[in-house]
């Protein structure tokens, strides 16, 4: 195995830098995702992976880059470092194909997470943990439809992101009618609020807003108030604000992918594979969601979310 | 037939009338001096001749043909080379690159045609040496040259490329006595080669020896055009000073006590 010094625990975030500090094994896994730094969703995945690393005494190194080519280069870098296993999210499977196959060829077991489940086995990955964005989208759409929504605004916080597109089109399928997409900038929430409000003002018949990121949900609630609209707000993913929003009745529900599992489980799977050649589910994808969080179950989850695990 | 002829030319900058009703000729083998106060419009006239500005009124004739230069390139192609008052040099570029800017000598052919740097360096060094400027390093950026050295580069460039008409806007202003002498000698040489020269200067001691004809401007209008025979040096000086009593000044400048 690679004997780099494993980052002198640069700071504090609790990365699994210090290799093999628990259970005697000196395994080292790399997690490489397409999330952008500071994204709330991927933050929970990272927490899951690092928690698993700590629990099992495995060194886990988390890296991410939204650009497919650079994500591929990060995989190559991990292969060069001779890690013992790689976890990779495959938003753009074609772009990663070469690098993933190279890793498999080099004898490194790979587990894919989050997206790309249909190509996972073909690339030689030992398993997939995740939830298809389209399935999650359909779940959200169906839930909205049962709540009586007919004209839904779908808030895209990143133009051209394939996962977000799948969520919106999935929601349209679940709803049984078209949704109206609108573009905002995730780093400018104040502008996002105005944009959502403008849509609600321009079309008063909108009766539901579906946000694809938990941070946007809170401003969507505000925007509805600003615009004097009665539209209900639903969102993907959880955070503190979303939970208190659900508790207060401002937010109807949140679609929870339970992405903590997408970080935690693959580490376990890799460890079992490396040490015991176990596989899970016969190569079939392991689904982590969608779970719907609404008034009925929000209170139990509230504490967990503040700890960064939901 | 005159080389260049201006007929009733005028030019405005916004509300400022910089030139109005100027008529003049530039003949081959003659030096035309343009004289006038600061802000009289001399540089503006030059810029019309060299294609930087287009005249707003009147017309310009080259070899008897009406022309209107849309860009300095066109004037250059017609054989008119100019030393601008602000010198038109790129401070960050090396001396030799500035020297040949816009007229780079090339070597090789097709895709391998390239700037002949060795020749350009050598020509630059020689041209400046002839003016009495000893450049230590032709790769020095123009911005680090002294004021007079910079002016010398601009003059040497214009002299080198001035095929038919050579225009000099206050070429000797920053030059030492020796270098100014060299420039005047160049002007005389060009004149003798049959080049038409337009010279702007505030120094009557420079204007009188080389000038063949003197065009006087005042606030954008012509005060008349004189041939050399019609005026002598002192009269010219008086004309340039707008009739002010210079002799009196000389007395004033002396110490009141001594």
């Amino acid at each position: 195995a690679c004997t780099t010094e494993g980052g002198d625990s640069g700071g504090s975030g609790g990365s699994g830098g210090s290799s093999g500090d628990g259970g005697g094994s000196d395994l080292s896994f790399a997690v490489i995702t397409h999330g952008s730094a500071g994204d709330a969703f991927w933050d929970v995945v990272q927490n899951g992976a690092e928690a698993a690393g700590e629990d099992l005494g495995i060194s886990v190194d988390y890296q991410s880059d939204g650009d497919p080519q650079r994500q591929a280069q990060l995989i190559d870098a991990a292969v060069n470092q001779d890690v013992d296993g790689i976890v990779v999210s495959m938003a753009n499977p074609d772009a990663l194909q070469d690098s993933v196959e190279a890793a498999v060829e080099a004898g490194i077991p790979v587990v894919s997470i989050n997206s790309g489940g249909d190509r996972s086995a073909a690339f030689g990955a030992i398993g997939h943990v995740g939830q298809d964005e389209a399935i999650a989208g359909r779940g959200a759409g169906a839930e909205l439809a049962s709540g009586g929504a007919t004209n839904v605004l779908c808030v895209m916080h990143e133009a051209g992101n394939i996962g977000l597109e799948q969520r919106c089109s999935g929601a349209a399928q679940g709803l049984g009618s078209d949704v109206t997409p609108v573009q905002i900038d995730i780093n400018d929430l104040q502008g996002a609020q105005s944009t959502i409000a403008s849509q609600l003002q321009a079309d008063p018949t909108i009766d539901a807003v579906l946000t694809l990121n938990s941070a946007v949900a809170a401003v969507a609630v505000e925007a509805a108030t600003d615009a004097g609209s009665e539209a209900q707000v639903a969102t993907f993913d959880l955070d503190q604000d979303v939970i208190s929003g659900i508790q207060a009745g401002d937010i109807a529900f949140a679609v929870d992918q339970q992405q903590y599992e997408q970080g935690y489980l693959p580490i376990v799977m890799l460890k079992l594979y490396v040490q015991n050649l176990n596989t899970v589910g016969g190569g079939q994808p392991v689904l982590t969601g969608p779970g719907i969080v609404d008034e009925s179950n929000v209170d139990e989850i509230a504490d967990l979310a503040s700890a960064g695990t939901r | 037939m005159p080389l260049l002829e201006l007929r009733d030319v005028g030019k405005d900058y916004g509300s400022v009338i910089a030139l109005d009703g100027i008529t003049s000729t530039v003949r081959a083998g003659e030096v035309t001096c343009v004289l006038g106060d600061n802000g009289a419009g001399k540089s503006t006239l030059i810029k019309i001749l060299s294609g930087v500005h287009r005249a707003d009124r009147g017309e310009m004739l080259l070899d008897g043909q009406v022309v209107s230069f849309g860009a300095p390139r066109e004037a250059l192609d017609a054989g008119i080379a100019t030393v601008y008052q602000d010198l038109a040099m790129i401070p960050l570029m090396a001396i030799w690159r500035n020297f040949f800017l816009g007229a780079e000598p090339t070597r090789g052919r097709g895709p391998f045609r390239r700037f002949d740097a060795a020749q350009a360096r050598e020509t630059t060094r020689l041209a400046l040496q002839e003016m009495g400027i000893d450049i230590r390093d032709p790769d020095q950026p123009v911005g680090t040259l002294s004021g007079g050295e910079r002016q010398s580069v601009a003059i040497a460039r214009a002299v080198h490329f001035g095929a038919r008409v050579l225009i000099l806007d206050e070429p000797t202003s920053a030059l030492g006595v020796k270098q100014a002498g060299v420039v005047l000698r160049y002007v005389a040489q060009a004149r003798d080669r049959g080049v038409g020269v337009v010279l702007i200067t505030h120094n009557p001691h420079h204007a009188y020896p080389v000038g063949d004809r003197f065009l006087l401007l005042n606030r954008g209008r012509s005060l008349g055009s004189f041939a050399k025979g019609e005026v002598d040096r002192d009269e010219l000086t008086r004309l340039m000073a707008g009739g002010a009593e210079l002799d009196q000044l000389a007395h004033e400048l002396e110490r009141p006590t001594s």
């Binding site: 700071g11 504090s12 975030g13 952008s36 730094a37 500071g38 994204d39 709330a40 933050d43 927490n47 895209m156 133009a159 109206t180 997409p181 609108v182 573009q183 900038d185 995730i186 780093n187 400018d188 929430l189 104040q190 502008g191 609020q193 105005s194 944009t195 409000a197 403008s198 849509q199 003002q201 321009a202 079309d203 941070a215 809170a218 401003v219 600003d226 615009a227 004097g228 955070d239 503190q240 604000d241 503040s306 700890a307 960064g308 | 916004g14 509300s15």
Partner: protein
């Protein structure tokens, strides 16, 4: 510009619509004015966007994680912003390196700090619950209240924006410091030769930008009550864009505060005008780009026409 959108969309020209699109224009405007001053002074600040995030997060962390009074948090945040601004200015004047690259360094470092420290203190990527801090009500009144004019609620930030623009215009045109800003940006060597304290001017300008970022950051923190670690990233360019639309030269030495404000207004209008027209969201950026080009070109035509008429 306004006419175009107003004709197309009734809601856009309604008081509520106006209040809505003036809102993003206002915080953008405050930053654009400060950035314009800096650009007139001949420099860029790429860290201005992320600094709004840093200051907002600081308010959140000090108020929530350390349980301090919100005014204490706001004070700490200001001190931090001034320190960063000073650091930027000092490094730029000291090393003579382009401010573009220096502030890019600060930008990246702050981006990392924002994320790293937020995670360190909260274990997540958001700081929330700022409204529970003591003193919040007063802070809300100052930074995030709404003013009712003719039955429509306008954000108080719009008022601040106008104040900032007037103040900046006054400083630029009517004070010694303003003269120095133009001179430093126009030709730093010449300015120094006639005795302008160019270094001090530059550092002050960077600190002004930092102060504006602090103000916007606090407004964000108080208004949204929870702050994301990636707040403000990418905004720095929009500030520069607004200043440039408003007539600032990228090479320094020329521009105006009021122009930058108008630039922010044009940008804000365009950004929200498109959703008001309900044009296809996929083409949002296409329209944004086209509108921007048209606005700038129209702006130029109008100015030319005005200049020609004056003559």
């Amino acid at each position: 510009m306004f006419a175009f959108f107003a004709v197309q969309s009734e809601v856009f020209r309604s008081p509520r619509g106006i209040a809505n699109w003036l809102d993003p224009a206002s915080t953008l405007g405050i930053m654009a004015v400060a950035v314009a001053l800096l650009m007139i002074g001949g420099h860029f600040d790429l860290s201005a966007g992320v600094m709004t995030g840093t200051t907002a997060l600081t308010v959140g962390i000090v108020a929530v994680e350390f349980g301090q009074n919100i005014w204490v948090a706001i004070g700490v945040s200001l001190a931090l912003a001034l320190a960063i601004g000073f650091f930027n200015g000092w490094l730029v004047t000291r090393t003579g390196l382009p401010s573009f690259i220096i502030t890019l360094g600060t930008f990246l470092m702050l981006q990392g700090l924002n994320l790293g420290l937020t995670k360190f203190f909260t274990d997540t990527v958001t700081v929330g619950g700022i409204d529970d801090a003591p003193g919040y009500a007063a802070a809300e009144w100052l930074f995030a209240s709404r003013l009712s004019i003719a039955g429509t609620e306008f954000r108080v930030a719009i008022l601040w924006w106008v104040l900032f623009t007037v103040l900046a215009t006054w400083v630029l045109l009517r004070t010694r410091f303003g003269n120095w800003v133009f001179a430093t940006g126009g030709d730093e060597v010449a300015a120094r030769n006639v005795g302008v304290p160019a270094r001090r001017t530059t550092i002050t300008l960077f600190m002004t930008t930092a102060t504006a970022a602090w103000f916007v950051g606090v407004t964000l923190a108080v208004r949204l009550t929870s702050v994301q670690a990636n707040t403000g990233i990418g905004q720095e360019l929009i500030f520069i864009v607004a200043a440039v639309i408003g007539g600032c030269l990228l090479t320094g030495g020329f521009g105006s505060a009021i122009g930058a404000s108008l630039g922010a207004l044009i940008f804000g209008m365009t950004q929200l005008g498109i959703p008001y027209l309900r044009w296809d969201a996929d083409w949002f950026y296409f329209f944004l780009g086209a509108m921007l080009l048209l606005a700038v070109l129209a702006n130029r035509l109008v100015r030319r026409y005005a200049e020609a008429a004056r003559r």
